[in-house]
C-alpha cells in the first residue's frame, strides 16, 4: 500500500469535512504538524474540534486556524500563549474543554488502544471532576475519563520509512505518538522519508501500523522561548 504522498494537500485529500474531530501532536510550537495545519487552513474546513495540548500562537500552528475562524472547539491543557484564542474564548465564540495534560495524553493513548475509559486521581476535588463518575479503589477516589477517538490524526515526526515507521527527535516527540494512535486515519509530516530497511527496527518509536499517509517537507520549526546562557570566557 502506498503511504507516501507528494504534498500536505494531496495527503489530506478526501479526509477533511466540516465539523470533524482532529487530534494533533505537538507541545507549544515544538513538534507541531505545521505543514498539515497550513493545508487545513487552505482547504477551509470549518467547525473543527481539535484535541491538542496547546493552540499555537497567533500566527503559527493552530493559531492560523483561529484567525480564519475554522475552529469550533479546543480540547487543550494550556492556551496561555495565544491572544486571539483568549479573545475568542472570553467572548464565547470558541468552545474550550480544559483537560489536565496527562489526562489528555492518556485519553489519546487509551483511544488508540481501544480503551473507552480509565480512572485517574488527576482532577479529583477540582472543577475537572464535575459531572464525572467517581469511584474508590483501595481507599482512594478516582474519576472516570474517556478515551479519545478522532476522525483524523495529524502528526509531525523526524523521519519515516516508506511503510510509515516513525522516529521522533528529542522533545519534539511529546504528544505525537498518542495523537497518531487515536485517529481513524493518521497523516504524518516528516523532515525526511528514508528507504524502507534503513531505520534500525529496534529504534522505531511508533510502528507504521498507526500511519496511513506520509509527506516530507521543509519545516520552519519556530522557537517560542529562546533562552541561552553566556559562554564562559576562560
Amino acid at each position: 500500500m502506498k503511504k507516501v504522498y507528494g504534498s500536505a494537500q494531496e495527503a489530506l485529500d478526501g479526509l477533511l469535512f466540516d465539523g470533524m474531530f482532529i487530534a494533533a501532536g505537538g507541545f507549544g510550537l515544538c513538534g507541531i504538524p505545521e505543514l498539515l495545519l497550513a493545508a487545513i487552513k487552505d482547504a477551509g474546513t470549518k467547525d473543527l474540534t481539535f484535541a491538542s495540548n496547546n493552540a499555537g500562537v497567533d500566527d503559527f500552528g493552530i493559531g492560523i486556524l483561529l484567525q480564519t475562524r475554522q475552529v469550533k472547539k479546543m480540547i487543550s491543557s494550556y492556551v496561555g500563549e495565544n491572544a486571539e484564542f483568549m479573545r475568542q474564548y472570553l467572548s464565547g465564540e470558541l468552545e474550550l474543554e480544559f483537560n489536565p495534560q496527562g489526562t489528555l495524553a492518556e485519553r489519546m493513548r487509551a483511544g488508540g488502544c481501544g480503551i473507552p475509559g480509565f480512572y485517574t486521581k488527576t482532577g479529583v476535588g477540582t472543577v475537572i471532576a464535575d459531572g464525572k463518575e467517581h469511584k474508590d479503589f483501595n481507599g482512594q477516589t478516582y474519576i472516570l475519563e474517556h478515551g479519545i477517538f478522532a476522525d483524523l490524526s495529524i502528526v509531525k515526526a523526524w523521519k519515516a520509512d516508506e511503510t510509515g515507521n516513525l522516529v521522533f527527535r528529542k522533545t519534539a516527540r511529546n504528544f505525537n505518538p498518542p495523537a497518531a494512535m487515536c485517529g481513524k486515519v493518521c497523516v504524518v509530516e516528516v523532515e525526511e522519508i528514508v528507504p524502507t530497511g534503513s531505520l534500525d527496527p529496534d529504534t522505531i518509536h511508533l510502528p507504521g501500523i498507526y500511519v496511513h499517509r506520509i509527506i516530507q517537507g521543509q519545516h520552519e520549526k519556530r522557537i517560542e522561548q529562546r533562552t541561552t546562557r553566556k559562554r564562559e570566557t576562560v
Partner: protein
C-alpha cells in the same frame, strides 16, 4: 529581611534528596536547579524528558529541545526522551519523588490553586493537576502575600483548585510551613523574620 527569589530556591533545593527524580515548575521553582549542589538529582520535564540540562549557549538552541515552559534547553549524558503519555504515566504512577511548584493560593488543608482566575486569566492547568495528584511530595514555593499585601496562605482557597489536600510543604519569602492535622506548622522563619511576623502575614490556622 525576607528571602529573595534565589534564597527561596536555595531553601527549596534543601528539600531534595540524593537519587530523586524531580519536576520543577515555572518561575522560582526553575531556579531550584541552580542550588542542588552535589546531590544526584534528575530533573523531569513533563513534555517528555528525564535529565534536563541547562540553557544552551547562544547559537546552540535546538527547536526540538525545549522544557515544559517552552524554553530552549540542553540534554545531559543521562537524558532519556519519551512521549507525553509515558511522561504522565511516570507522574501518575508515583515514580517522580517530588514536584516543586508555584501557587496563587494554598490552604491549611493542603488545597492548591495555581491555574485559573475566573473571568480574568484563561491559561489552563497544563500538567499541574497531574503532578500534584501523582508525585510523592508536593512543595509549593511562592511569595507569602500578593501584591496587595494579602496572605496567599489561607484558611481555604477562593480560586478554582488545582488539587485537593495535595500540598505537603510551603516555602515562602517569610519561611517554611508544613501542612499537618488541623492546620499549618511553622518549620522555620526566614532569616530576620520573626515568628510573630510570619503569623501576622498568614491567614491560615497555625498549630
Amino acid at each position: 529581611m525576607p528571602w529573595d527569589r534565589n534564597q527561596m530556591a536555595a531553601r527549596a533545593a534543601e528539600e531534595l534528596q540524593d537519587g530523586w527524580y524531580v519536576n520543577l515548575g515555572i518561575g522560582i521553582p526553575t531556579l531550584v536547579a541552580n542550588y542542588v549542589g552535589d546531590k544526584d538529582i534528575t530533573l523531569q520535564s513533563e513534555n517528555g524528558m528525564l535529565g534536563m540540562g541547562p540553557f544552551p549557549f547562544e547559537g546552540d538552541e535546538d527547536p526540538d529541545l525545549i522544557n515544559a515552559g517552552k524554553q530552549t534547553i540542553t540534554e545531559l549524558k543521562r537524558t532519556a526522551y519519551f512521549d507525553s503519555a509515558t511522561s504522565f504515566g511516570m507522574i501518575r504512577g508515583g515514580k517522580i519523588a517530588a514536584a516543586i511548584l508555584g501557587a496563587m493560593e494554598v490552604a491549611e488543608n493542603g488545597d492548591l490553586a495555581n491555574w485559573m482566575i475566573p473571568g480574568k486569566l484563561v491559561k489552563g492547568m497544563g500538567g499541574a493537576m497531574d503532578l500534584v495528584a501523582g508525585v510523592g511530595r508536593v512543595i509549593v514555593v511562592m511569595d507569602h502575600t500578593n501584591k496587595h499585601g494579602e496572605s496567599k496562605v489561607l484558611k481555604s482557597c477562593t480560586l478554582p483548585l488545582t488539587g485537593k489536600g495535595v500540598v505537603d510543604r510551603i516555602i515562602t519569602n517569610l519561611g517554611v510551613l508544613d501542612v499537618v492535622e488541623g492546620g499549618l506548622r511553622i518549620v522555620e522563619c526566614a532569616e530576620g523574620v520573626t515568628e510573630a511576623e510570619l503569623r501576622a502575614a498568614t491567614e491560615a490556622t497555625i498549630v
